[in-house]
C-alpha cells in the first residue's frame, strides 16, 4: 500500500502493535512502515519505542542493528535523548556490524544541540579498527562535522592503511575525505614540479624525488611529507577496483594531490572505465575532458580509446570529440583529422556539427594544420546537408578572423554560397565576413548587398543586423556604388518590427550619413566600423570546470550543488606533521582492548617487533603478511620523521652512499632503507638474518650523453672509494621520447636467497614511487640485477629455483639500416631490436621498423611481400601502412622468429608502385631474452652445461673497462642479457635464454690480474655461444 503511494497512516495503531511480532518478516515490514509514518503519529510511535529498546539488548547482532536503525529513523524529537543513549551504547558494541549501524545513526540524529555529543561518538568510532566501521564513520564525520579536521589527525595513518580493506562504498567516502584533508595538511607538490623542470636541465639522470631531496637541502623548500606519500601509495591499488566510483575517487585524489609526474597512472584505469555502462562513461568522460585540458600528456597514449563509435549516444560522442580535440597536438593531428573526416559524414547531424567545431578548434590551436583544416572545411561547404554547411561557415569565419591574410578566394566562394544557405547564423557569418574584408573583394561586396537588400524583409533578425553592418561598412569604403543601396536598407530597417534593428538603423544612420549635426563622431565612423577585430579564441567549454573538485556532482552539473565543499588551496607551510603521530603503544592497547581479536594482537606483536628491531618469527599466513604490510608502512613513516632510527634489520652495515655531487643527508638514506628493505625470517634463529640479503637498486635514466658520462664518473668514483659497493646507474640515452621523469624511473629489486636455511622469505612490496630513489649502496650484499620492470615486482622466492624472464634493460639501441633512401626512391627504413618480449608469439624477436618518407609525395600502401625465409623461420608482418605523408615517419613493429640462427630474413618492402628487396640480419645478442636467476641457480645451471657446451676465451681488457659498471653496460649493449647477482666482485654473470628454443645462455666474465679476463659461455646452442663469444670479445677489449 505504501508502495502505491497511498496514505496508510490511519492504520498506524494496528500496525504498530505488530512490532513485537516474532516473525522477522513482519517485523521488517513494520519497520519500513514506521520509518515512513512515525513523524505524523508521534504519540503512537512512542508506543513502539520500548520494543526497540528491548531489541537493542537482543543477543542477535542483527536485531540489535536493525532496531537501532529504525529507532534512529523515527524522526520524533522527543526521543532524541533515547536515541543518543542508544547510539552511545551501540558504538561500543562488540559486533562491528552494530557499530557500523551506530555510525549511520549518527547522521540521522543530526541536531545542533546534540552535536557535541555526536562528535564525541564519532571520535570514538574513528579510533575503531574494524574495516566495516571505517567507511560509515567517515560518512558520519562528513555529515556532522566536516570541518573538525583535528579529529582525523590521529587516525590518518590508520585510515590510509585500512583503506584497501574497507568495503567499496566506504572507500569512496574516505578517499574524498582524505583528499580534503591532504589539501589542508600538506604542501603542494606542484610548485616544486615547476622548479624541478628548471632543474632538470642539468640533472636529467636524477629522479624527481631525489631532486626534491636536494631542493630541500639547497633551497629548503619541499619534501613530500611521508604521510602524504603513504596516502598516495595506499590508494594506488584501489585503481583496480571493480567499482567505478572508487576508481574515480582515486583518480581525483591523484589529480588533486599527486605530483604532476605521478598523476599519469590514473589515466589507464579511467580509460578502462569507458567500457562500462553509458552513464558511467558519460561522467568519466566529463572528468577526462577536464583533465585533458590541463595535462594533455596524461591521456595521449590512449587517444584511440576515445574514437567514436556510431552506436554511442550523442552525448558521449560529443564528449569524446571534446577530449580528442583537447588531446590534439602536432604529432597526432593528421590521424585525428582523418578520423574527424569520418565523423563529419555521420548521420547524426548534431554530432557532425560538433565535429566541425572541433576541427576549427584544432586548427586554431595548432597553427601548422590551419590551412589543411581550412581547405577541408571549404570542401565541406559543398556538402548537401545544411547544418553541416552552416556550421562550417561559422567555423571558417572564425578561422579567417585569426589569419585574415589572403583568403579572398574563400570569401568569394562563400559569397556565392550565400544564395543557397538558409541557416541564419551561417548567412550572418558570411555577411559579416564580406563586410569585414570588403576591401579585398571590392567587386562582390556591393553585389551581395544588392541581393540581400532585396530579400531584407524576409531575413532573420540576425541576418538583418549583419546586412545593416555590411551596408554601413560598404558605405564607408565604397560610397559611390553603394550609397543608394545602403540608404534603402536603412530605410527598411527603420520600419522593422524588431526594436533592436530599428535602434541599430538609427545608430548607423547618425554615424555614417553626413548631415549638418554629425560632428566629431562621423569622422571616426570609419575607424569604428573597420577597426581590427581581435580574433575570437575557440575554447573548450570545459575550461572553466576545473575549479570544481573532479568527480563530484558539482563538476558534472558545472554548478554548485548544495553541500559542495570547496577544496582548499595548498597551505603555504605544512602544519605540524607530528599531530598524526599516534602514540603507538597506547593505541595498540586500545585496539586490542576494543576488539580482543587475534589479528589485532598479532599486529601489536609485529609492531613491537619492528620497534625493537629484531627478527622474530613471522607467520607466513596471508593475513599475517597483510598486517606486516600495514605495520611496515607505519614503521616507515615513523622512521622517516625520526630519521636515524632505521639502521637495523640485521644487515646493519652502515649505509653509505651518495649518488651524485650533492650529498644526501643520512636521513634520506634511512628513509630509503626503511621503505625498501625489510625482511622477516620465520625461524627464530637470529643468525639466519645474515644469510638473507636483499638489495635494491635503481636505474635512473638519462637522456643526454653528457649527463650519462657524468653519472658514470660519479659512480665509478664511488666504486673505487668503496670497493664493495655495487650501486649501479644505468645510462639510457635512447629514450628521448620518455614521457616524464617519474615514469622513466625504473626500479628494480633483486632478491637473493643464498643459503637460506628456511624457505620463506617474504619481501614486502615496494611501491613504484618511493620517496627517495638514491642508488643505495649496501656494501656486503653484492647483489644486483637490473630489470626494467615498470611495475615493481616483489619476488617471493622459495628454495626452488625461480627463473623468470624479465624485461630487458634499455640500452642505447643500435639502429640498422633496412633501406637507404637513395635506393628506396625516397623511402627510407631503419630497424632496431626493441628487446621487448615478442608480442606476436613467444618465439618471435620483435623488431621495430621506422619507415620514413623523404620524398615530397605521399607513399601509399607500404607492406611486406615475398618473404624469403630460411626453413623454420617465421615472420609476423606489420599491418600495411595505408599512406605516409611527405617527411612523415612511422614506426611499426614486427616479429621475426629467427630460429636461433643468424640467418637473414629477406623480404620485399612494397609500396603502391615499387618494391625493394631488403633483409634483416640479427646480431646474435638480440636472439636472447634476459632472465633473472640467483647466483646459486646460475652455478647449478652452469654445472650442467660444461664440456661440449662450454666455450671460453681469454681476452685483454682495456683498463677503463675493468669496473663493474662499465662491463655490465658494455655487455648489455652488445647482447640482450640479464645480470645475475654475483658474490665476487671480479666475476660478472649474465643469463639469458634464446628466443626460439628457450635454451639457457650463461655468460661469465671473470676479471683477472694484469687486465685480462676470462670469458666463459655455457649453452646448449654451441653455435650461438661461439658467435656470441666472438662478438663479446671486442666489446670488452676495446677502449
Amino acid at each position: 500500500m505504501i508502495a502505491k503511494g497511498r496514505n496508510a497512516s490511519e492504520l498506524f495503531p494496528a500496525v504498530v502493535k505488530n512490532v513485537a511480532s516474532k516473525n522477522i518478516e513482519i517485523k521488517k515490514l513494520v519497520y519500513v512502515y514506521l520509518m515512513r509514518y512515525a513523524e505524523e503519529q508521534q504519540d503512537l510511535a512512542l508506543l513502539s519505542i520500548s520494543t526497540f529498546q528491548r531489541a537493542l539488548k537482543d543477543p542477535n547482532q542483527l536485531i540489535r542493528a536493525s532496531a537501532l536503525r529504525v529507532l534512529s529513523s523515527i524522526r520524533v524529537p522527543i526521543i532524541v535523548p533515547i536515541m543518543m543513549l542508544a547510539i552511545k551504547e551501540a558504538s561500543s558494541d562488540l559486533s562491528p556490524y552494530v557499530r557500523k549501524n551506530a555510525a549511520h545513526a549518527i547522521q540521522k540524529l543530526l541536531d545542533p544541540e546534540q552535536k557535541e555529543m555526536l562528535i564525541e561518538v564519532i571520535e570514538k568510532l574513528l579510533k575503531d579498527r574494524s574495516t566495516l566501521v571505517a567507511g560509515s564513520v567517515v560518512m558520519a564525520f562528513e555529515e556532522v562535522c566536516p570541518d573538525r579536521i583535528d579529529l582525523i589527525h590521529k587516525n590518518y595513518r590508520k585510515l590510509c592503511n585500512l583503506l584497501v580493506d574497507v568495503e567499496e562504498w566506504g572507500q569512496v567516502v574516505i578517499i574524498h575525505m582524505l583528499t580534503r584533508y591532504a589539501r589542508t595538511q600538506f604542501v603542494s607538490p606542484w610548485k616544486d614540479d615547476e622548479m624541478v623542470e628548471e632543474y632538470s636541465e642539468n640533472n636529467f639522470y636524477e629522479s624527481d624525488d631525489e631532486k626534491k631531496e636536494k631542493d630541500r637541502k639547497v633551497k629548503n623548500t619541499y619534501t613530500m611529507d611521508p604521510d602524504h606519500r603513504l596516502l598516495l601509495r595506499n590508494t594506488k591499488p584501489l585503481l583496480q577496483s571493480r567499482n567505478a566510483a572508487v576508481v574515480m575517487a582515486v583518480a581525483q585524489l591523484y589529480w588533486h594531490l599527486a605530483p604532476k609526474s605521478e598523476a599519469g597512472i590514473v589515466s589507464k584505469s579511467l580509460v578502462r572505465l569507458l567500457r562500462s555502462n553509458r552513464e558511467v562513461q558519460y561522467i568519466v568522460l566529463q572528468n577526462i575532458a577536464t583533465m585533458s585540458i590541463q595535462r594533455k600528456g596524461m591521456f595521449e597514449p590512449y587517444l584511440k580509446s576515445f574514437y567514436v563509435r556510431s552506436t554511442d549516444p550523442t552525448m558521449i560522442k560529443t564528449l569524446k570529440l571534446e577530449i580528442l580535440t583537447n588531446l590534439a597536438n602536432e604529432a597526432n593531428i593528421s590521424t585525428l583529422l582523418r578520423e574527424f573526416q569520418t565523423y563529419v559524414k555521420s548521420q547524426d547531424k548534431q554530432f557532425a556539427a560538433a565535429t566541425i567545431q572541433a576541427i576549427g578548434r584544432c586548427a586554431t590551436n595548432i597553427t601548422e594544420v590551419t590551412d589543411t583544416c581550412l581547405n577541408g572545411l571549404v570542401c565541406l561547404l559543398s556538402n548537401r546537408d545544411e547544418i553541416v554547411v552552416a556550421e562550417s561557415v561559422v567555423v571558417i569565419k572564425k578561422l579567417l578572423q585569426t589569419q585574415p591574410a589572403h583568403h579572398g578566394e574563400i570569401i568569394k566562394h562563400m559569397a556565392k554560397l550565400l544564395d543557397n544557405i538558409t541557416v541564419p547564423v551561417a548567412r550572418a557569418s558570411i555577411l559579416w565576413l564580406i563586410g569585414e574584408y570588403c576591401e579585398r573583394v571590392p567587386k562582390i561586396a556591393p553585389d551581395v548587398l544588392r541581393k540581400t537588400a532585396k530579400s531584407f524583409i524576409n531575413e532573420d533578425d540576425l541576418v538583418k543586423l549583419q546586412i545593416l553592418n555590411l551596408g554601413a561598412k560598404l558605405y564607408l569604403t565604397n560610397s559611390k556604388q553603394t550609397k543608394l543601396l545602403t540608404q534603402y536598407v536603412l530605410n527598411l530597417g527603420k520600419y522593422d518590427q524588431s526594436y533592436d534593428i530599428r535602434d541599430r538603423t538609427r545608430f548607423i544612420r547618425q554615424l555614417i550619413v553626413p548631415n549638418e549635426k554629425s560632428g566629431a563622431l562621423s569622422k571616426y565612423a570609419k575607424k569604428i566600423f573597420l577597426a581590427q577585430k581581435p580574433a575570437p579564441l575557440l575554447e573548450s567549454p570545459f575550461k572553466d570546470r576545473d575549479h570544481f573538485q573532479l568527480g563530484t556532482l558539482s563538476h558534472t552539473l558545472n554548478s554548485r550543488a548544495t553541500g559542495y565543499l570547496e577544496l582548499s588551496d595548498w597551505p603555504e607551510v605544512a602544519p605540524d606533521p607530528s599531530v598524526r603521530n599516534v602514540d603507538v603503544a597506547e593505541s595498540a592497547k586500545e585496539w586490542t582492548g576494543i576488539l580482543g581479536k587475534m589479528k589485532k594482537e598479532k599486529t601489536e606483536k609485529f609492531y613491537s617487533e619492528s620497534e625493537e628491531e629484531e627478527d622474530e618469527s613471522a607467520s607466513a599466513s596471508a593475513s599475517g603478511r597483510k598486517n606486516l604490510q600495514n605495520l611496515f608502512f607505519i614503521a616507515e613513516s615513523e622512521s622517516s620523521s625520526e630519521s636515524e632510527e632505521e639502521d637495523e634489520e640485521g644487515n646493519s652495515d652502515e649505509s653509505s652512499g651518495s649518488s651524485s655531487s650533492t650529498e644526501e643527508s643520512s636521513d634520506s638514506e634511512s628513509d630509503n632503507k626503511a621503505s625498501t628493505t625489510k625482511k622477516t625470517s620465520r625461524a627464530a634463529d637470529e643468525s639466519d638474518a645474515e644469510n638473507i640479503k636483499q638489495n635494491e637498486k635503481r636505474t635512473s635514466e638519462k637522456r643526454s650523453a653528457s649527463s650519462s658520462s657524468d653519472t658514470e664518473s660519479v659512480s665509478s668514483e664511488e666504486g673505487s672509494s668503496d670497493s664493495k659497493s655495487d650501486s649501479d646507474s644505468k645510462s639510457d640515452s635512447e629514450s628521448g621520447k620518455s614521457k616524464s621523469a617519474a615514469s622513466n624511473k625504473k626500479e628494480e629489486k633483486a632478491v637473493q636467497d643464498r643459503k637460506a636455511p628456511n624457505k620463506d622469505v617474504f619481501l614486502l612490496d615496494l611501491d613504484d614511487f618511493c620517496p627517495v630513489t638514491t642508488p643505495v649502496v649496501v656494501p656486503t650484499a653484492a647483489v644486483l640485477s637490473p630489470s626494467l620492470t615498470a611495475d615493481l615486482e616483489g619476488l617471493s622466492l622459495s628454495s626452488s629455483s625461480v627463473i623468470d624472464v624479465t624485461k630487458p634493460v634499455s640500452v642505447p639501441t643500435k639502429t640498422h639500416e633496412l633501406l637507404h633512401r637513395m635506393s628506396g626512391k625516397g623511402l627510407a627504413a631503419h630497424y632496431h631490436f626493441s628487446r621487448q618480449p615478442g608480442i606476436f608469439g613467444d618465439r618471435m624477436v620483435s623488431v621495430q621498423v621506422t619507415i620514413k618518407n623523404t620524398t615530397d609525395q605521399k607513399i601509399e600502401n607500404i607492406h611486406i611481400e615475398e618473404k624469403k625465409l630460411p626453413s623454420g623461420m617465421r615472420m609476423h608482418e606489420f599491418t600495411p601502412i595505408e599512406c605516409l605523408e611527405p617527411a612523415g615517419s612511422i614506426t611499426v613493429s614486427m616479429g621475426i622468429d629467427f630460429c636461433d640462427s643468424t640467418q637473414m630474413a629477406s623480404f620485399q618492402l612494397c609500396t603502391k608502385d615499387d618494391r625493394f628487396n631488403v633483409n634483416i640480419q640479427p646480431p646474435v645478442g638480440e636472439l636472447l631474452l634476459p632472465v633473472t636467476m640467483s647466483e646459486k641457480d646460475f652455478k647449478k645451471e652452469q654445472g650442467m652445461l660444461t664440456g661440449m657446451n662450454e666455450t671460453s676465451a681469454t681476452i685483454a681488457v682495456a683498463p677503463q673497462n675493468s669496473t663493474r659498471l662499465v662491463i655490465i653496460e658494455r655487455v648489455m649493449k652488445a647482447a640482450n642479457l640479464g645480470v645475475v647477482p654475483s658474490g665476487q666482485d671480479n666475476i660478472h654473470r649474465f643469463a639469458a635464454k634464446t628466443v626460439h628454443s628457450g635454451s639457457l645462455m650463461l655468460v661469465t666474465v671473470e676479471l683477472k690480474e694484469n687486465s685480462t679476463a676470462q670469458l666463459v659461455i655455457n649453452t646448449e646452442k654451441t653455435v650461438i655461444g661461439s658467435v656470441l663469444l666472438r662478438e663479446l670479445k671486442p666489446v670488452l677489449s676495446q677502449g
Binding site: M248, R272, Q347, P837
Partner: protein
C-alpha cells in the same frame, strides 16, 4: 536497464558515480534474486524488493551490497519455498545470524556445503574494433573478463596462475583477490565468494596487435539518379587459429531515406525493419569453403537525395575455445580444504563493439 529507469534522488553533493554504481548494483542484485529484472517482476515481489532495498541502503548510504550476504539475510524466493511457505506459514527471512558480516571474508558465507565440489572459470574476451572502409583496423582492443562459478565446500583458498600474465595490461579485480600477490607474483590468490561472480576483468594493451578474426567485404552504393542502390556484404574468417566462428550476426542502421530492401542471403535469415531502418542478418556459423553473403538492392524514398554516408555495419560473433589475446590459465590450486575439486576452464572470444565503416 531492461527498459526500466532506476532513479535515485539526492539532496546534496555526492559523487555521481557513487550513485550510478549503486543503482547498477541494485539491479544486479534484483537479477540475482529473481532471474530477470522487469516491471512485472518488481511488482510481483514488492515485499522482497522492499526488504532488499532496506538492507542495501540506510539513510542514503549503502550498507550491504554483496549478494552473498544479502541472500543470507533475505532468502531469495523460489517456487518451492513459496509453496512450502503457504503451507507451513514460515517466512523467507533468515532467522540466524549472518555470520559473513563477522568473518574475515565479508563476501563469503560460512558453512557452505556441496556434494560436488566444482569450480568453473570462463575466460571471455571481447574485441572492440573499428575497421575502416578499406579494411584496415583503426582501433582494436581486447577486453576480457574471467567469470567464475565456484561451488566449493568450506573456506577454500584458490590460486590461479596464468601462462602469460604479462599480456594483462590493466586489470580490475573482485575485492576478494589479494592485490599484493598479484603485484609481486602475477598470481591470483583469493577466497572465492560462493556462486557466480566476476573474478577479474582485464584489458589487453592496445600496443599489441590484435588479430581480427573476421573480415567483411562490402559493396554498398546508392546512385544519385535512381531510387535504387546496390547492397552486398560478405563475411569471412581470417586468423581464427582453426576454430569456427559461430553466432555471426550482422546489423546495420540504414539511413533514413531507405524505404525497403530486397536481399537474398546465401545463408541464414535477414530482417529489415522499415520503421527503425535496422537491417539484421543472422548468419550463424561461417563455413570457410562457402562464405556467406547477402546481396540485393535497396530502394530509396523517391525524391530525396542519396544519403551522404554509407551505414556502418556492426558485427557480432563468437568463437568457442579460443582466447584471442592468447591468454591461458596455467593452473588452479586450492589450499585450505581437503577434498579435490573438479575444475574447468572455458575460453570464448566474442565481438564487443565491432564496427565496420563503409
Amino acid at each position: 536497464r531492461h527498459k526500466i529507469f532506476f532513479v535515485a534522488v539526492i539532496q546534496s553533493e555526492v559523487p555521481p558515480l557513487f550513485v550510478i554504481e549503486f543503482l547498477h548494483r541494485v539491479v544486479d542484485t534484483f537479477q540475482d534474486y529473481f532471474g530477470v529484472c522487469s516491471e512485472v517482476m518488481i511488482k510481483d515481489n514488492v515485499v522482497v524488493v522492499y526488504e532488499v532495498l532496506e538492507e542495501m541502503l540506510d539513510n542514503g548510504f549503502p550498507l550491504a551490497t554483496e549478494s552473498n550476504i544479502l541472500k543470507e539475510l533475505i532468502k531469495p524466493p523460489t517456487i518451492l519455498r513459496t509453496v512450502v511457505n503457504t503451507i507451513t506459514g514460515s517466512t523467507n527471512v533468515g532467522d540466524q545470524l549472518p555470520t559473513g558480516q563477522l568473518s574475515v571474508v565479508p563476501w563469503r558465507r560460512t558453512g557452505v556445503k556441496y556434494t560436488n565440489n566444482e569450480a568453473y572459470f570462463d575466460v571471455v574476451e571481447e574485441i572492440d574494433a573499428i575497421i575502416d572502409k578499406s579494411g584496415s583496423t583503426i582501433t582494436a582492443e581486447i577486453q576480457g573478463v574471467i567469470d567464475a562459478c565456484v561451488k566449493l565446500t568450506g573456506m577454500p583458498d584458490l590460486t590461479l596462475s596464468f601462462m602469460n600474465p604479462r599480456l594483462l595490461d590493466d586489470v580490475s579485480f573482485h575485492p576478494c583477490v589479494r592485490f599484493k600477490r598479484w603485484e609481486s607474483e602475477r598470481i591470483l590468490s583469493f577466497i572465492p565468494p560462493d556462486g557466480n561472480f566476476r573474478l577479474l576483468s582485464y584489458h589487453v594493451s592496445a600496443q599489441n596487435l590484435v588479430a581480427i578474426p573476421v573480415y567483411v567485404k562490402h559493396n554498398i552504393s546508392f546512385r544519385d539518379s535512381s531510387s535504387l542502390g546496390r547492397f552486398e556484404i560478405t563475411v569471412g574468417p581470417k586468423q581464427t587459429m582453426g576454430k569456427t566462428i559461430e553466432g555471426v550476426m550482422v546489423t546495420s542502421q540504414m539511413p533514413k531515406g531507405v524505404l525497403n530492401m530486397t536481399l537474398t542471403p546465401s545463408q541464414g535469415t535477414h530482417v529489415f525493419d522499415p520503421v527503425t531502418k535496422l537491417l539484421s542478418w543472422d548468419v550463424g556459423k561461417i563455413n570457410p569453403q562457402k562464405l556467406p553473403s547477402l546481396k540485393g538492392s535497396v530502394s530509396l524514398q523517391a525524391g530525396t537525395s542519396k544519403p551522404d554516408e554509407n551505414p556502418t555495419i556492426n558485427l557480432q560473433f563468437k568463437i568457442q575455445q579460443l582466447a584471442i589475446s592468447g591468454l591461458k590459465v596455467n593452473r588452479l590450486d586450492m589450499y585450505g580444504e581437503k577434498y579435490k575439486p573438479f575444475k574447468g576452464i572455458k575460453y570464448m572470444t566474442k565481438a564487443g563493439k565491432f564496427q565496420v565503416r563503409t
